[in-house]
Protein backbone atom coordinates (compact mmCIF):
# COMPACT_ATOMS: atom_id res chain seq x y z
CA UNK A 1 0.00 0.00 0.00
CA UNK A 2 1.25 3.46 -0.84
CA UNK A 3 1.98 5.51 2.28
CA UNK A 4 0.46 8.69 0.93
CA UNK A 5 -2.15 8.65 -1.81
CA UNK A 6 -3.26 12.13 -2.84
CA UNK A 7 -5.37 11.30 -5.90
CA UNK A 8 -9.17 11.42 -5.61
CA UNK A 9 -10.61 8.33 -3.94
CA UNK A 10 -14.20 7.16 -4.19
CA UNK A 11 -16.59 8.46 -1.58
CA UNK A 12 -17.85 5.04 -0.55
CA UNK A 13 -21.56 5.07 0.25
CA UNK A 14 -24.29 2.64 1.34
CA UNK A 15 -24.81 1.45 -2.22
CA UNK A 16 -21.18 1.03 -3.22
CA UNK A 17 -19.81 -0.40 0.03
CA UNK A 18 -20.08 -4.09 -1.03
CA UNK A 19 -18.37 -3.31 -4.35
CA UNK A 20 -15.36 -1.61 -2.79
CA UNK A 21 -15.21 -4.13 0.06
CA UNK A 22 -14.99 -6.97 -2.46
CA UNK A 23 -12.20 -5.20 -4.33
CA UNK A 24 -10.27 -4.95 -1.08
CA UNK A 25 -10.48 -8.80 -0.99
CA UNK A 26 -9.29 -8.77 -4.65
CA UNK A 27 -12.64 -9.71 -6.10
CA UNK A 28 -14.40 -7.71 -8.84
CA UNK A 29 -18.15 -8.07 -8.35
CA UNK A 30 -21.03 -6.91 -10.51
CA UNK A 31 -24.77 -6.62 -10.04
CA UNK A 32 -26.72 -9.15 -12.10
CA UNK A 33 -30.47 -9.03 -12.70
CA UNK A 34 -32.52 -12.12 -11.81
CA UNK A 35 -35.34 -11.02 -14.12
CA UNK A 36 -33.42 -10.40 -17.37
CA UNK A 37 -30.12 -12.13 -16.47
CA UNK A 38 -28.06 -9.16 -17.61
CA UNK A 39 -25.21 -7.58 -15.67
CA UNK A 40 -24.85 -3.84 -15.22
CA UNK A 41 -22.21 -1.37 -14.11
CA UNK A 42 -21.98 0.72 -11.90
CA UNK A 43 -24.00 -1.18 -9.30
CA UNK A 44 -27.56 0.08 -8.80
CA UNK A 45 -30.59 -0.87 -6.72
CA UNK A 46 -32.62 -1.41 -9.90
CA UNK A 47 -31.71 -2.99 -13.21
CA UNK A 48 -31.12 -0.24 -15.82
CA UNK A 49 -32.11 -2.70 -18.59
CA UNK A 50 -35.50 -4.04 -17.39
CA UNK A 51 -35.95 -1.98 -14.19
CA UNK A 52 -36.45 -4.99 -11.95
CA UNK A 53 -35.22 -4.70 -8.37
CA UNK A 54 -34.43 -8.42 -8.13
CA UNK A 55 -30.66 -8.27 -8.33
CA UNK A 56 -27.74 -10.09 -6.86
CA UNK A 57 -24.00 -9.63 -6.72
CA UNK A 58 -21.91 -11.98 -8.80
CA UNK A 59 -18.16 -12.25 -9.21
CA UNK A 60 -16.84 -11.15 -12.58
CA UNK A 61 -14.31 -13.10 -14.60
CA UNK A 62 -12.01 -10.09 -14.53
CA UNK A 63 -11.42 -10.50 -18.25
CA UNK A 64 -12.36 -8.05 -20.94
CA UNK A 65 -11.48 -6.10 -24.06
CA UNK A 66 -10.37 -2.50 -24.56
CA UNK A 67 -13.46 -0.74 -26.00
CA UNK A 68 -11.68 2.61 -26.19
CA UNK A 69 -8.78 4.38 -24.52
CA UNK A 70 -6.96 7.67 -24.34
CA UNK A 71 -3.48 8.63 -23.20
CA UNK A 72 -3.43 11.50 -20.73
CA UNK A 73 -0.32 13.39 -21.82
CA UNK A 74 -0.65 15.64 -18.79
CA UNK A 75 -2.29 14.73 -15.53
CA UNK A 76 -5.89 15.39 -14.58
CA UNK A 77 -4.86 17.79 -11.84
CA UNK A 78 -1.59 17.98 -9.90
CA UNK A 79 -1.95 14.59 -8.19
CA UNK A 80 -1.76 12.81 -11.55
CA UNK A 81 0.99 14.91 -13.14
CA UNK A 82 3.88 12.65 -12.19
CA UNK A 83 2.12 9.66 -13.78
CA UNK A 84 1.70 11.21 -17.26
CA UNK A 85 1.57 9.78 -19.81
CA UNK A 86 -0.92 7.22 -18.56
CA UNK A 87 -3.79 5.29 -20.11
CA UNK A 88 -7.47 5.79 -19.25
CA UNK A 89 -9.66 3.17 -20.86
CA UNK A 90 -13.20 1.96 -21.20
CA UNK A 91 -12.98 -1.81 -20.79
CA UNK A 92 -15.83 -4.04 -21.89
CA UNK A 93 -15.91 -6.98 -19.50
CA UNK A 94 -16.81 -10.41 -20.81
CA UNK A 95 -20.02 -10.10 -18.78
CA UNK A 96 -21.08 -7.37 -21.24
CA UNK A 97 -20.65 -4.26 -19.09
CA UNK A 98 -18.31 -1.34 -19.62
CA UNK A 99 -16.26 0.38 -16.93
CA UNK A 100 -13.68 3.12 -16.83
CA UNK A 101 -10.24 2.12 -15.59
CA UNK A 102 -6.51 2.54 -16.11
CA UNK A 103 -4.45 0.15 -18.19
CA UNK A 104 -1.17 -0.40 -16.34
CA UNK A 105 1.59 -0.60 -18.94
CA UNK A 106 5.15 0.65 -19.39
CA UNK A 107 4.79 1.75 -23.00
CA UNK A 108 1.38 3.36 -23.50
CA UNK A 109 2.00 3.71 -27.23
CA UNK A 110 1.38 0.01 -27.94
CA UNK A 111 -2.23 0.10 -26.71
CA UNK A 112 -5.01 -0.60 -29.20
CA UNK A 113 -8.75 -1.03 -29.16
CA UNK A 114 -9.69 -4.70 -29.07
CA UNK A 115 -6.74 -5.85 -26.96
CA UNK A 116 -7.57 -8.37 -24.24
CA UNK A 117 -7.08 -7.29 -20.65
CA UNK A 118 -7.32 -8.78 -17.18
CA UNK A 119 -8.01 -7.11 -13.84
CA UNK A 120 -5.30 -6.35 -11.30
CA UNK A 121 -5.91 -4.91 -7.86
CA UNK A 122 -4.14 -1.80 -6.66
CA UNK A 123 -4.52 -1.22 -2.93
CA UNK A 124 -4.24 2.55 -2.65
CA UNK A 125 -5.65 3.30 0.81
CA UNK A 126 -6.88 1.40 3.83
CA UNK A 127 -10.41 1.26 2.33
CA UNK A 128 -9.85 1.61 -1.39
CA UNK A 129 -8.58 -0.93 -3.89
CA UNK A 130 -8.79 0.21 -7.51
CA UNK A 131 -9.54 -2.38 -10.21
CA UNK A 132 -7.01 -1.62 -12.95
CA UNK A 133 -6.23 -3.75 -15.98
CA UNK A 134 -3.19 -5.07 -17.82
CA UNK A 135 -2.77 -6.61 -21.25
CA UNK A 136 -2.98 -10.40 -21.41
CA UNK A 137 -2.16 -12.83 -24.20
CA UNK A 138 -5.11 -13.61 -26.46
Amino acid sequence: MQSQYDKPVPHIDEESRPYWAALKREKLILKRCLACSRHHFYPRILCPHCHSCELKWSEASGLGTIYSFTIARRGAGPAFSADAPYAVAIVELDEGVRMMTNIVIENVDILAIGQRVGVIFEHVTEDVTLPKFKLIGS
Binding site: K7, P8, V9, P10, H11, I12, D13, S16, F41, Y42, Y67, S68, F69, T70, I71, A72, R73, R74, G75, A76, G77, A79, F80, D83, Y86, V88, I90, R98, M99, M100, T101, N102, I113, G114, V128, L130
Partner: protein, 369 residues
Protein backbone atom coordinates in the same frame (compact mmCIF):
# COMPACT_ATOMS: atom_id res chain seq x y z
CA UNK B 1 -11.46 45.36 -23.16
CA UNK B 2 -14.19 45.32 -20.53
CA UNK B 3 -13.57 45.78 -16.84
CA UNK B 4 -13.60 42.53 -14.84
CA UNK B 5 -17.18 41.57 -14.03
CA UNK B 6 -19.15 39.01 -12.07
CA UNK B 7 -21.33 36.45 -13.88
CA UNK B 8 -24.39 38.37 -12.64
CA UNK B 9 -23.17 41.61 -14.23
CA UNK B 10 -22.40 39.79 -17.48
CA UNK B 11 -25.94 38.44 -17.62
CA UNK B 12 -27.50 41.79 -16.80
CA UNK B 13 -25.61 43.49 -19.63
CA UNK B 14 -26.46 40.69 -22.08
CA UNK B 15 -30.13 40.78 -21.05
CA UNK B 16 -30.23 44.56 -21.29
CA UNK B 17 -28.77 44.46 -24.78
CA UNK B 18 -31.04 41.64 -26.01
CA UNK B 19 -34.18 43.31 -24.63
CA UNK B 20 -33.17 46.62 -26.20
CA UNK B 21 -32.64 44.83 -29.52
CA UNK B 22 -36.10 43.26 -29.24
CA UNK B 23 -37.78 46.49 -28.14
CA UNK B 24 -39.08 45.01 -24.90
CA UNK B 25 -38.69 46.37 -21.35
CA UNK B 26 -37.22 44.28 -18.54
CA UNK B 27 -40.43 44.87 -16.54
CA UNK B 28 -42.35 42.94 -19.22
CA UNK B 29 -40.26 39.79 -18.76
CA UNK B 30 -42.43 37.19 -17.03
CA UNK B 31 -40.50 34.05 -17.96
CA UNK B 32 -36.87 33.45 -16.95
CA UNK B 33 -34.62 30.54 -17.97
CA UNK B 34 -31.10 30.23 -16.62
CA UNK B 35 -28.38 27.59 -16.68
CA UNK B 36 -25.16 28.28 -14.85
CA UNK B 37 -21.87 27.10 -13.48
CA UNK B 38 -21.35 30.13 -11.21
CA UNK B 39 -22.14 30.44 -7.54
CA UNK B 40 -22.10 26.74 -6.60
CA UNK B 41 -22.33 26.11 -3.70
CA UNK B 42 -24.34 29.21 -2.93
CA UNK B 43 -26.59 31.56 -4.87
CA UNK B 44 -25.99 29.59 -8.08
CA UNK B 45 -27.83 26.56 -6.69
CA UNK B 46 -31.06 28.47 -7.33
CA UNK B 47 -30.06 30.42 -10.46
CA UNK B 48 -33.51 31.52 -11.60
CA UNK B 49 -34.30 32.93 -8.16
CA UNK B 50 -30.96 34.70 -7.95
CA UNK B 51 -31.24 36.20 -11.43
CA UNK B 52 -34.89 37.25 -11.02
CA UNK B 53 -33.93 39.07 -7.85
CA UNK B 54 -30.86 40.67 -9.46
CA UNK B 55 -32.86 41.79 -12.51
CA UNK B 56 -35.68 43.09 -10.29
CA UNK B 57 -38.44 41.00 -11.85
CA UNK B 58 -41.00 38.47 -10.59
CA UNK B 59 -41.32 35.82 -13.32
CA UNK B 60 -44.35 33.51 -13.34
CA UNK B 61 -42.54 30.88 -15.41
CA UNK B 62 -38.97 29.77 -14.66
CA UNK B 63 -36.74 26.95 -15.91
CA UNK B 64 -33.31 26.13 -14.53
CA UNK B 65 -32.78 23.05 -16.70
CA UNK B 66 -29.12 22.29 -16.34
CA UNK B 67 -27.78 19.80 -18.91
CA UNK B 68 -24.43 21.42 -19.65
CA UNK B 69 -23.83 23.38 -22.83
CA UNK B 70 -27.03 22.19 -24.51
CA UNK B 71 -29.18 23.85 -21.82
CA UNK B 72 -30.02 26.93 -23.86
CA UNK B 73 -31.34 25.01 -26.87
CA UNK B 74 -33.49 23.06 -24.39
CA UNK B 75 -34.59 26.36 -22.82
CA UNK B 76 -35.81 27.58 -26.23
CA UNK B 77 -38.00 24.49 -26.53
CA UNK B 78 -39.32 24.88 -22.99
CA UNK B 79 -39.97 28.61 -23.42
CA UNK B 80 -41.86 27.89 -26.65
CA UNK B 81 -44.13 25.48 -24.77
CA UNK B 82 -44.69 28.02 -21.99
CA UNK B 83 -45.48 30.81 -24.46
CA UNK B 84 -47.89 28.61 -26.40
CA UNK B 85 -49.60 27.58 -23.18
CA UNK B 86 -49.92 31.17 -22.02
CA UNK B 87 -47.75 30.60 -18.97
CA UNK B 88 -45.71 33.67 -19.88
CA UNK B 89 -45.66 36.38 -22.52
CA UNK B 90 -41.94 37.28 -22.66
CA UNK B 91 -39.26 34.71 -21.86
CA UNK B 92 -35.67 35.71 -21.19
CA UNK B 93 -32.83 33.15 -21.39
CA UNK B 94 -29.49 34.25 -19.95
CA UNK B 95 -25.99 32.92 -19.47
CA UNK B 96 -22.80 34.46 -18.14
CA UNK B 97 -19.43 33.14 -17.09
CA UNK B 98 -16.13 34.57 -15.94
CA UNK B 99 -14.32 31.24 -15.85
CA UNK B 100 -11.23 32.55 -17.59
CA UNK B 101 -10.77 35.45 -15.19
CA UNK B 102 -11.40 33.13 -12.26
CA UNK B 103 -9.03 30.50 -13.71
CA UNK B 104 -11.69 28.04 -12.58
CA UNK B 105 -11.46 25.48 -15.36
CA UNK B 106 -9.39 22.48 -14.31
CA UNK B 107 -8.85 19.03 -15.74
CA UNK B 108 -9.57 17.24 -12.47
CA UNK B 109 -13.26 16.48 -12.90
CA UNK B 110 -16.13 16.15 -10.49
CA UNK B 111 -15.92 15.09 -6.83
CA UNK B 112 -15.83 11.29 -6.59
CA UNK B 113 -19.22 10.90 -4.95
CA UNK B 114 -22.34 9.00 -6.10
CA UNK B 115 -21.89 7.93 -9.74
CA UNK B 116 -18.64 9.88 -10.12
CA UNK B 117 -16.90 7.54 -7.62
CA UNK B 118 -16.55 5.12 -10.56
CA UNK B 119 -14.87 7.68 -12.86
CA UNK B 120 -12.99 10.43 -11.07
CA UNK B 121 -10.36 8.11 -9.49
CA UNK B 122 -8.98 7.18 -12.92
CA UNK B 123 -7.55 10.60 -13.71
CA UNK B 124 -9.29 11.12 -17.03
CA UNK B 125 -8.55 14.71 -18.08
CA UNK B 126 -11.95 16.39 -17.93
CA UNK B 127 -13.74 17.09 -20.13
CA UNK B 128 -11.35 16.41 -23.01
CA UNK B 129 -10.68 12.78 -22.06
CA UNK B 130 -14.30 11.74 -22.55
CA UNK B 131 -14.30 13.25 -26.04
CA UNK B 132 -10.92 11.65 -26.73
CA UNK B 133 -12.36 8.23 -25.86
CA UNK B 134 -15.11 8.83 -28.42
CA UNK B 135 -12.65 10.12 -31.01
CA UNK B 136 -10.48 7.01 -30.58
CA UNK B 137 -13.50 4.75 -31.02
CA UNK B 138 -14.68 6.76 -34.04
CA UNK B 139 -11.25 6.38 -35.64
CA UNK B 140 -11.26 2.65 -34.88
CA UNK B 141 -14.70 1.98 -36.36
CA UNK B 142 -14.65 4.36 -39.30
CA UNK B 143 -11.03 5.20 -40.09
CA UNK B 144 -11.50 8.86 -39.21
CA UNK B 145 -8.15 10.70 -39.24
CA UNK B 146 -6.60 13.50 -37.19
CA UNK B 147 -6.36 15.52 -40.43
CA UNK B 148 -10.15 15.29 -40.85
CA UNK B 149 -10.69 16.42 -37.26
CA UNK B 150 -8.28 19.31 -37.82
CA UNK B 151 -10.33 20.48 -40.81
CA UNK B 152 -13.12 21.40 -38.38
CA UNK B 153 -10.81 23.70 -36.42
CA UNK B 154 -9.31 25.21 -39.58
CA UNK B 155 -12.72 26.01 -41.08
CA UNK B 156 -13.87 27.52 -37.78
CA UNK B 157 -10.80 29.77 -37.80
CA UNK B 158 -11.57 30.94 -41.33
CA UNK B 159 -15.02 32.05 -40.14
CA UNK B 160 -13.48 33.68 -37.07
CA UNK B 161 -11.14 35.69 -39.30
CA UNK B 162 -14.29 37.33 -40.72
CA UNK B 163 -15.67 38.12 -37.26
CA UNK B 164 -14.12 41.13 -35.47
CA UNK B 165 -15.50 39.86 -32.14
CA UNK B 166 -13.74 36.47 -32.35
CA UNK B 167 -10.95 35.74 -29.88
CA UNK B 168 -8.68 33.85 -32.30
CA UNK B 169 -8.50 35.31 -35.79
CA UNK B 170 -4.98 34.50 -37.06
CA UNK B 171 -4.33 31.96 -39.81
CA UNK B 172 -4.50 28.28 -38.86
CA UNK B 173 -3.53 25.23 -40.92
CA UNK B 174 -4.19 21.51 -40.54
CA UNK B 175 -0.46 21.16 -39.81
CA UNK B 176 -0.76 23.72 -36.99
CA UNK B 177 -3.50 21.65 -35.37
CA UNK B 178 -1.58 18.39 -35.75
CA UNK B 179 1.63 19.88 -34.36
CA UNK B 180 -0.10 21.47 -31.36
CA UNK B 181 0.45 19.71 -28.06
CA UNK B 182 -1.24 16.33 -27.64
CA UNK B 183 -3.45 16.59 -24.55
CA UNK B 184 -5.44 13.36 -24.51
CA UNK B 185 -4.86 11.06 -27.49
CA UNK B 186 -6.00 11.54 -30.20
CA UNK B 187 -7.02 15.13 -29.36
CA UNK B 188 -4.54 18.02 -29.50
CA UNK B 189 -4.70 21.41 -27.86
CA UNK B 190 -6.13 22.90 -31.07
CA UNK B 191 -8.83 20.22 -31.28
CA UNK B 192 -10.23 21.82 -28.11
CA UNK B 193 -12.42 24.85 -27.56
CA UNK B 194 -11.14 28.07 -26.03
CA UNK B 195 -11.46 29.11 -22.40
CA UNK B 196 -12.95 32.61 -22.27
CA UNK B 197 -15.32 34.83 -20.35
CA UNK B 198 -18.62 35.84 -21.87
CA UNK B 199 -22.36 35.85 -21.78
CA UNK B 200 -25.46 36.02 -23.89
CA UNK B 201 -29.21 36.42 -23.75
CA UNK B 202 -32.21 35.43 -25.85
CA UNK B 203 -35.65 37.05 -25.77
CA UNK B 204 -38.66 35.00 -26.86
CA UNK B 205 -42.29 35.99 -27.17
CA UNK B 206 -45.39 34.98 -29.08
CA UNK B 207 -45.34 35.32 -32.87
CA UNK B 208 -48.02 38.03 -32.85
CA UNK B 209 -46.17 40.05 -30.22
CA UNK B 210 -42.87 39.65 -32.10
CA UNK B 211 -44.38 40.84 -35.38
CA UNK B 212 -45.82 43.91 -33.65
CA UNK B 213 -42.41 44.95 -32.28
CA UNK B 214 -41.04 45.87 -35.69
CA UNK B 215 -37.74 43.96 -35.50
CA UNK B 216 -37.33 41.04 -37.96
CA UNK B 217 -38.72 38.08 -36.02
CA UNK B 218 -37.05 34.67 -36.07
CA UNK B 219 -39.50 31.83 -35.56
CA UNK B 220 -38.89 28.62 -33.63
CA UNK B 221 -40.10 25.90 -36.04
CA UNK B 222 -39.16 22.78 -34.09
CA UNK B 223 -37.16 21.58 -31.10
CA UNK B 224 -36.00 18.27 -29.68
CA UNK B 225 -33.82 17.06 -26.86
CA UNK B 226 -32.41 13.94 -25.22
CA UNK B 227 -30.04 12.89 -22.45
CA UNK B 228 -28.19 9.58 -22.45
CA UNK B 229 -25.49 9.36 -19.76
CA UNK B 230 -23.20 11.23 -17.41
CA UNK B 231 -20.58 8.60 -16.61
CA UNK B 232 -18.54 8.11 -19.77
CA UNK B 233 -18.70 4.33 -19.45
CA UNK B 234 -22.51 4.56 -19.74
CA UNK B 235 -22.50 6.27 -23.16
CA UNK B 236 -24.67 3.96 -25.27
CA UNK B 237 -22.26 3.91 -28.24
CA UNK B 238 -19.05 5.90 -28.04
CA UNK B 239 -18.77 6.28 -31.82
CA UNK B 240 -22.33 7.58 -32.22
CA UNK B 241 -24.06 10.56 -30.63
CA UNK B 242 -27.37 9.03 -29.59
CA UNK B 243 -28.65 12.20 -27.89
CA UNK B 244 -28.28 14.19 -31.12
CA UNK B 245 -29.94 11.45 -33.17
CA UNK B 246 -33.03 11.62 -30.98
CA UNK B 247 -33.06 15.41 -30.58
CA UNK B 248 -32.48 16.08 -34.26
CA UNK B 249 -35.15 13.68 -35.44
CA UNK B 250 -37.73 15.30 -33.15
CA UNK B 251 -36.78 18.80 -34.27
CA UNK B 252 -36.98 17.96 -37.98
CA UNK B 253 -40.33 16.20 -37.55
CA UNK B 254 -41.82 19.09 -35.58
CA UNK B 255 -40.43 21.70 -37.98
CA UNK B 256 -41.69 19.79 -41.01
CA UNK B 257 -38.56 20.59 -43.02
CA UNK B 258 -35.89 18.40 -44.58
CA UNK B 259 -32.11 18.67 -44.35
CA UNK B 260 -31.87 20.30 -47.76
CA UNK B 261 -33.95 23.25 -46.50
CA UNK B 262 -31.33 24.20 -43.89
CA UNK B 263 -29.18 27.14 -45.03
CA UNK B 264 -26.86 27.57 -42.05
CA UNK B 265 -25.85 25.21 -39.25
CA UNK B 266 -24.56 26.12 -35.79
CA UNK B 267 -23.44 23.08 -33.80
CA UNK B 268 -21.57 22.85 -30.54
CA UNK B 269 -17.84 22.45 -31.18
CA UNK B 270 -16.48 21.74 -27.73
CA UNK B 271 -13.95 19.56 -29.54
CA UNK B 272 -13.46 18.81 -33.22
CA UNK B 273 -14.83 15.27 -32.77
CA UNK B 274 -18.07 16.68 -31.35
CA UNK B 275 -18.81 18.26 -34.71
CA UNK B 276 -18.24 15.10 -36.76
CA UNK B 277 -20.42 13.01 -34.47
CA UNK B 278 -23.13 15.69 -34.36
CA UNK B 279 -23.33 16.05 -38.17
CA UNK B 280 -23.62 12.27 -38.49
CA UNK B 281 -26.23 11.97 -35.76
CA UNK B 282 -28.33 14.82 -37.15
CA UNK B 283 -28.37 13.03 -40.49
CA UNK B 284 -26.40 15.51 -42.60
CA UNK B 285 -24.22 12.51 -43.50
CA UNK B 286 -24.11 8.80 -42.67
CA UNK B 287 -22.53 7.40 -39.51
CA UNK B 288 -18.78 7.34 -39.99
CA UNK B 289 -18.79 9.75 -42.93
CA UNK B 290 -18.32 12.91 -40.87
CA UNK B 291 -14.60 13.02 -41.56
CA UNK B 292 -15.07 12.94 -45.32
CA UNK B 293 -18.01 15.34 -45.04
CA UNK B 294 -16.00 18.17 -43.44
CA UNK B 295 -12.96 17.69 -45.69
CA UNK B 296 -11.91 20.12 -48.41
CA UNK B 297 -13.13 23.14 -46.42
CA UNK B 298 -16.75 22.18 -46.94
CA UNK B 299 -17.82 23.94 -43.72
CA UNK B 300 -15.57 27.01 -44.24
CA UNK B 301 -16.61 30.38 -45.72
CA UNK B 302 -17.53 29.77 -49.37
CA UNK B 303 -18.01 26.04 -48.77
CA UNK B 304 -21.19 24.14 -49.55
CA UNK B 305 -22.12 23.73 -45.88
CA UNK B 306 -21.82 26.99 -43.89
CA UNK B 307 -21.33 25.99 -40.25
CA UNK B 308 -20.30 27.70 -37.03
CA UNK B 309 -20.17 31.01 -38.81
CA UNK B 310 -18.99 33.13 -35.85
CA UNK B 311 -15.86 30.98 -35.48
CA UNK B 312 -17.42 28.62 -32.94
CA UNK B 313 -16.21 27.57 -29.54
CA UNK B 314 -12.94 26.68 -31.23
CA UNK B 315 -12.09 30.24 -32.33
CA UNK B 316 -14.82 32.72 -31.31
CA UNK B 317 -15.42 32.21 -27.58
CA UNK B 318 -16.13 29.45 -25.10
CA UNK B 319 -17.14 30.64 -21.65
CA UNK B 320 -17.90 27.27 -20.05
CA UNK B 321 -21.25 26.55 -21.65
CA UNK B 322 -21.28 27.76 -25.22
CA UNK B 323 -24.82 26.85 -26.30
CA UNK B 324 -26.32 30.32 -26.05
CA UNK B 325 -23.88 31.68 -28.65
CA UNK B 326 -25.08 29.12 -31.21
CA UNK B 327 -28.56 30.62 -30.91
CA UNK B 328 -27.30 34.21 -31.01
CA UNK B 329 -25.30 33.56 -34.18
CA UNK B 330 -28.16 31.72 -35.91
CA UNK B 331 -30.52 34.64 -35.21
CA UNK B 332 -27.96 37.14 -36.49
CA UNK B 333 -27.45 35.11 -39.66
CA UNK B 334 -31.19 34.84 -40.33
CA UNK B 335 -31.59 38.59 -39.80
CA UNK B 336 -28.73 39.33 -42.19
CA UNK B 337 -26.66 41.14 -39.55
CA UNK B 338 -23.37 39.32 -40.10
CA UNK B 339 -21.44 41.58 -42.47
CA UNK B 340 -18.49 39.85 -44.15
CA UNK B 341 -19.44 36.44 -42.71
CA UNK B 342 -23.09 36.66 -43.77
CA UNK B 343 -24.51 33.50 -45.35
CA UNK B 344 -26.43 34.75 -48.36
CA UNK B 345 -30.22 34.44 -48.27
CA UNK B 346 -30.27 32.29 -45.14
CA UNK B 347 -33.87 31.44 -44.28
CA UNK B 348 -33.62 28.31 -42.13
CA UNK B 349 -31.00 27.59 -39.48
CA UNK B 350 -30.34 24.49 -37.42
CA UNK B 351 -28.82 24.88 -33.97
CA UNK B 352 -27.61 21.93 -31.93
CA UNK B 353 -26.17 22.10 -28.43
CA UNK B 354 -24.22 19.32 -26.74
CA UNK B 355 -23.58 19.16 -23.02
CA UNK B 356 -21.65 17.22 -20.43
CA UNK B 357 -19.43 14.54 -21.96
CA UNK B 358 -21.50 14.03 -25.11
CA UNK B 359 -24.24 13.50 -22.50
CA UNK B 360 -27.09 15.72 -23.60
CA UNK B 361 -28.31 17.18 -26.85
CA UNK B 362 -30.90 19.73 -27.87
CA UNK B 363 -31.81 20.88 -31.37
CA UNK B 364 -33.69 23.98 -32.53
CA UNK B 365 -34.75 24.72 -36.08
CA UNK B 366 -35.17 28.46 -36.55
CA UNK B 367 -36.62 30.26 -39.54
CA UNK B 368 -37.58 33.60 -41.01
CA UNK B 369 -40.84 31.94 -42.04
Amino acid sequence: MLEPMTPLQVQALAAHSALHDAGIEMQDVDGLLVANTWGIPGAGQVPTITMAEYFGITPRFVDGTSIGGAAFEAHVGHAALALEAGRCEVALITYGSTQKSERSRSLAGRPASLTMQYETPWGMPTPIGGYALSAMRHMHEFGTTSEQLAEVAVSARKWASLNPDAMMRGPLSVEDVLSSRMISDPLHQLDACLVTDGGGAIVMTTADHARALGKTPVFVRGCGEANTHLTVSSMPDMARLTSAQIAGQQAFERAGVTHSAIDVVEVYDSFTITVLMTLEALGFCQAGEGGAFVSSSRTAPGGAFPMNTNGGGLSYAHPGMYGIFLLVEAVRQLRGECGPRQVKDAVNALVHGTGGTLSSGATCILSLK
